[in-house]
Amino acid sequence: MKRSAPPALLRHLLLALLSSRDQETVAGDLLEAYGERRSRYGAFRANAWFAMQTASFAPRTAMRAYGRTPVLAGLCCFTAACGCWLGTMSLLLRHGNLLLQESIAGLIVGQALLTLVMLPLRRIAWLRWAAALGAVAILWRGGSALVSMLRGNHSWEGYILIIAFLLVIQAALTWRALLRRQPAIA
């Protein structure tokens, strides 16, 4: 009799989190255990167990990924914090076009979080594409802010200069990480 499999989303997530060395063996172990649990406790508890076990691989995979790209990971954390700060200040001060300012803050935070999720889950193609497009968006946003300030169209704001510069660096590092071959994990 064919055993039921865990939800496809969880299976894909597990495979994305496992190193190439562990993909076959660990996934097989967990599928075996899932089948036992499902016949003993039912689908809901078995799925919950499988989800928890899949999540238990995330911290190690994330640490490995961030360890390979520490500057990009750190930069994403910093720009996410900057985006939150910009969004909050726009809401409080309400200077100029609030919608535009909130969109920019949302883009900065969203791209930083997306990159942080993409780095450990590089095997998921749509995440790579989304991060690549997001990198273009922050490159355009940061670059245009820098150019505008250098041309004197805007008054010099130290914090905008720093954030714009960091966004350009973040975009370049994201593309570098995306183009780099994934190292084989022993």
């Binding site: 063996t25 996934a27 097989g28 599928l31 075996e32 076990q53």
Partner: protein
């Protein structure tokens, strides 16, 4: 002196020893869960990370064997404790025993 084994590392090594020839990931996970009387769910990620670390330190060795239909034909990785692993376990046990032997049981706490 070699680095002393952590508690979870000792648990994993003992689970591998107890499983003998059948020590593959799923069996080790079940052995550890049973050691806790099924009172807690053990995170597979922590077990496999420990297995990897112990193998890197040369305390465990592994080899692949063919899979079975219930795991979709996926291969199994079987582990065995090396001579170094056995020494490390004995050292950890004797260190703990010498410390425990000097403690009166039950432990009295001064308030």
């Amino acid at each position: 002196m070699a680095e002393l084994l952590g508690t979870f590392e000792q648990i994993v090594l003992l689970a591998v020893l107890r499983q003998g020839e059948d020590a593959y990931g799923r069996a080790i996970l079940r052995e550890i869960e049973e050691a806790f009387s099924g009172s807690r769910t053990i995170a597979a990620g922590a077990v496999y990370a420990t297995l990897d670390r112990l193998e890197t330190r040369g305390l465990l060795a592994s080899k692949l064997r063919a899979g079975t239909p219930e795991r979709g034909g996926r291969k199994r990785r079987f582990y065995r404790v090396t001579a170094g692993g056995s020494r490390a376990l004995q050292e950890a046990r004797s260190t703990l025993e010498s410390l425990w032997n000097s403690i009166r049981w039950p432990i009295e706490v001064c308030s």
